[in-house]
Symmetry: C2
Subunit: 243 residues, 2 copies
């Protein structure tokens, strides 16, 4: 029965209508990026609503990253930035995270990251290469006892490869995934001994391939790297308790 008569009205509140209105204006570029919105008092008159309702609409828009509000100076249409998109993904994954997601993270990385390495080899700028090489140095130099730092550098390496693709979709996809990796580590028994040199070896080979723009080799090396990585991971994976 509930399936037959779904709710229709959803009775939008006034402030939601205002929100949609302004959002549409922004999406249709009637309010171009960087342009200043009328002041709150002016908007109240234009929409013929109270300041209360208007402000709640504005709060929502700023929460979603559409506008920027500065006390004393006014409101502007925000230049859309990747960070807002990634933040909301982080929030989603963060709240959703559990044991079951771990295998799916691994699955995704095994499937996508070799392709990403290939893309990086084809598209990388000199700056990207420099970042990757700096990461190799930092990784090699970091204190062997500081396992926290080590895994951070490892994460950063993979993020740098994703960034080197220059493809925003790739970056938005992988950043939040890599942000989950530290939490995954809580589910394995220990930081694996003696893996640093092996990891560093793979990283170097991947960077070499990317440097020479050798897409196929970048693909293969990344695949080999992750295969090994995941084998180790599975070996040390905690058996989940029954409940």
């Amino acid at each position: 029965m509930n399936d037959i008569f779904k709710k229709i009205g959803t009775t939008q509140t006034l402030s939601q209508k205002i929100e949609r209105n302004i959002e549409r204006a922004i999406r249709e570029k009637k309010l171009p990026i960087g342009s200043k919105l009328p002041s709150e008092r002016e908007l109240c008159e234009m929409f013929a609503v109270s300041r209360t309702a208007l402000r709640e609409a504005l709060r929502r828009l700023s929460a979603r990253g559409l506008i920027e509000i500065r006390k004393g100076s006014g409101m502007v249409v925000k230049k859309i930035n990747m960070k807002d998109a990634i933040d909301s993904l982080n929030l989603y994954y963060d709240l959703k995270f559990d044991m079951n997601l771990i295998s799916q993270i691994i699955e995704l990385r095994l499937a996508f990251e070799p392709e990403i390495a290939k893309m990086a080899a084809l598209n990388r700028k000199d700056e990207d290469l420099a970042n990757l090489e700096q990461n190799l140095i930092d990784f090699a130099a970091c204190d062997p006892d500081n396992t926290q730092l080590e895994s951070d550098m490892d994460n950063k390496f993979h993020l740098n490869v994703a960034r080197a693709t220059g493809n925003p979709f790739v970056i938005v996809t992988m950043e939040p995934v890599h942000n989950l990796l530290p939490r995954m580590r809580n589910f394995i028994y220990a930081n694996i001994e003696g893996e640093k040199e092996i990891t560093l070896g793979y990283h170097k080979e991947i960077v070499n391939a990317i440097r020479e723009r050798d897409a196929e080799r970048a693909y293969e090396k990344m695949q080999a790297h992750l295969d090994r990585n995941m084998q180790v991971y599975n070996k040390f994976m905690k058996i989940p308790e029954q409940d």
Copy 2:
């Protein structure tokens, strides 16, 4: 200079502090999913703030999908849902979209979708298969003159494959990308004549592979499909005007 002295204070407003406070409580599961928040009046007392400030914090939280507000009944911590995450990605991509992104959309699809087809073949449930087969029927049946509907069905096919992976990361990645495809079509001269049968043929082969859980074949067929797709696309691509 701007890089050296970044702004420090950012003088959080009161309502932002309240927002962070409640957000933290939710992230730390002190307010579990589905639990009811105290009423606005109560929260005002607890935080010792006015209703205005509190409500603006609540508006932000609901805009970000953390809580659900129902007039007359109260506020509850929302079960995290994929739709919110995808919505904000849609917004980001939508505002960012331009000619330059098209090649990156194509690049991403060529790289990821064959892998996704492989995953789908390995993980698909009976329900996923049913959806895919229904799509084949609908696609075959749809009015040849209705090019709009045709391309919708095409999009849906690829989305169904992504969903069949059962991997939320894959779905979140691909949904917003496929939402951009209709806009991409504005940049080609015409809907390509006589391509429907060819497309349908590829789709059938992909579904067959997925049905038989033949991962490698699903990969190959998807790759072949997209390769052909993109060739046609490039052929009919409008040359961008100089400006």
